[in-house]
Amino acid sequence: MRIERRLRQPWWLAVVVPVVSIGAALLLAAFVLLLTGHPPLHSFRRLFDAAFLGIGALSETVVSSTPLAFTGLAAAVAFRMNLFNIGGEGQLYAGAITGATVALLLAGAPSPLVIAGMVVAGAAGGAVLAAIPGILRAFFSTNEIITSLMLNYVVALVLEYLIFDSHSYLRDTTGFQAKVFPQGKTLPDEATWSSWTVHGLVLPLGFLVAIGVAVFAWVLYARTRFGFEVQVIGDSPRAGRYAGMRTRRKIIAVMCLSGAIAGLGGASQDGDFRHQLDPRGLRQANYGYTGIVVAALARYNPLAVVLVAVLLGGLQNAGYTLQGADFPSGLVGVMQGLILFCALGGELFVRYRLRLERRQRQDPEPALKTAP
């Protein structure tokens, strides 16, 4: 058997490989479940029912997929440039902090204005945080993977400080309960993002914004000079520089764009779902890291990201619904990891092909035979 590089990549492979990857991941997960003494088919059945069966379950799945669509898009736009922004988690927190602050500051203003303010503030919060690893990478060639990741821990601790350990503007200090169990101030009603119901399926504003961002990102990368230059620099920074492209500016711009998208996800968490700055809820879900799985499975295609986000959002939603004594916690993370492993392994079949051939006996050619 030989592995050889494909000269052309057939278009259908981009669809078949992720689908087969998910199938393979399910098989491996079944193996893990069997090893630890859980019936796999029964567990999968319950996962599927809790995620996708019925309009209520689907609405919940959309709720879980909204942040994943944002963090997935954030990862996709940066990874396309071989710029590994793993700070989606922290950038989402930053957006949630700035979004909630603006919502509280603008209390009393007309609702559309408050919502617009939250969108801008959330995006700005994420972008500013992402600019730090971006600038360090552009000017000092500091490894952006580690700096962006370290900032996740820093922002997570700041988030805890704001709500649990200080008298910050964002913390609710009125009432008996708020003193015993610290929590964020409830945001004003004007800051509640609207939602639409289509045949019983609830579509929050954040989800629609995510679809808008996905279309924007797709157009940006497929149809504009900026996107083209970003991809050239990603593939070969040297070629980009020789062609006169502004490499440093592009690095910072892409990091900020990526951070802004993740920050939007944070603002959407405040406005769509939580209606307060909620450190526990935000940290528990691991949206930023799951976003990387989403982006990789979508092969960094912004439009596919939304689709994959719904899929993995369903998995996450089912994980919450089913968490209990007989449903092992951590299984969702295990399955996400397995899906990503399989998607990565599947890349081999996109870039290479396996050729089965019978090993031929090495008959020395007659012409080369030397006389005894």
Binding site: T142, L149, V158, Y161, E347
Partner: protein, 319 residues
């Protein structure tokens, strides 16, 4: 005197730095052979949970159980590393994404939490723990007593490991081959070195070290199970390798430096500074960023670079 803030911070800096040191040594071996493994955090967590499981379930003498636990943790870490090795060496996958996948798969909301949940490990303290081993009279010596002699066996073993890894990479034939594989796999291949075998071996050894690092946390520092017990130390270890310029001895210094910063908030708390512990806890992460910026200046990189083939798959016919 032995309770003054400086001594406490330095002593617990050594304690908290030890898992960083083990993890960084393992990552260093893998990276020297050309494999970047960003899954350290995940491998540490699985090592931590399996080591903890061993001490909870195994009967026998204290020493035997603890040694077995460290062995189990090392095996678990190596098993996790094997997934990464297969993906990046055999299937030529992107090393960065594969390492991230490993952290997600094994990490705080993945396999480690699944296993802890399934084996019901949360809530009770470790039945066997690593304690200070040297006699009390030595530990009571001023200053050095607490910092140098008041440590557990794992700390002293880590010193031996630093020396062994340093000698291995500079003084043995096999160690020199490892560096050749990491710097120029094509040249190493031409010399008759089996590049894939070297990379597999060192990725697995790296995983074993990460597993031991995890066990150090769950059996001596925190000594009970909490999901996500490592709290990002795997990532600090990866940063540590970079600003130790891929040198084992510098890893030792760096590990204690970061250990001291991790220990500082707790030491301050016990000395009456109770304001904003969260903000002090950000120190190790902020320092890691600053240190990375310092070492990535151009002059520093020209002298001690990363292994030249770090992160690149090696395919013989695609040079």
């Amino acid at each position: 005197m032995n309770n003054s803030l400086l001594v406490v911070v330095l002593a617990s800096g050594v304690t908290y730095g030890t898992p960083l040191l083990y993890a960084a040594l393992g990552e260093l071996l893998a990276e020297r052979s050309g494999v970047l493994n960003l899954g350290v955090e995940g491998m540490m967590l699985v090592g931590a949970v399996m080591g903890f499981w061993t001490v909870q379930r195994m009967g026998g003498a204290n020493a035997v159980v603890l040694v077995a636990a460290v062995g189990v943790a090392a095996l678990a870490g190596a098993a996790m590393a094997a997934i990464h090795a297969f993906l990046v060496i055999t299937l030529r996958a992107n090393q960065i994404v594969s390492g991230l996948a490993l952290t997600i798969f094994a990490g705080a909301v993945g396999l480690s939490s699944y296993l802890a949940n399934d084996l019901q490990l949360a809530g009770s303290p470790a039945k066997h723990q690593f304690q200070e081993i040297l006699p009390k009279s030595l530990q009571d010596l001023p200053v050095a007593g607490r910092i140098v002699f008041g440590q557990s066996l794992l700390v002293y073993c880590s010193w031996v490991c630093v020396v062994l890894v340093a000698l291995y990479l500079t003084r043995t034939r096999v160690g020199l081959n490892v560096r050749a594989v990491g710097e120029s796999p094509a040249a190493a291949d031409a010399m008759g070195i089996n590049v894939a075998a070297y990379r597999y071996a060192h990725t697995l050894i790296g995983g074993a070290f990460a597993g031991i690092a995890g066990a150090t946390i769950s059996l001596s520092i925190t000594a009970q199970w909490v999901d996500g017990i490592t709290r990002g130390s795997g990532w600090i270890a990866i940063a540590l390798v970079i600003f130790a310029f891929w040198r084992p001895t510098l890893c030792l210094v760096g590990a204690y430096f970061f250990g001291a910063f991790s220990a500082l908030p707790y030491a301050l708390q016990s000395h009456g500074v109770t304001q904003a512990p969260e903000l002090f806890q950000t120190l190790p992460y902020v320092m890691a960023i600053l240190a990375l910026v310092l070492v990535s200046s151009r002059a520093a990189r020209l002298r001690f670079g990363a292994p030249a083939a770090l992160g690149l798959p090696y395919v013989r016919e695609e040079r």
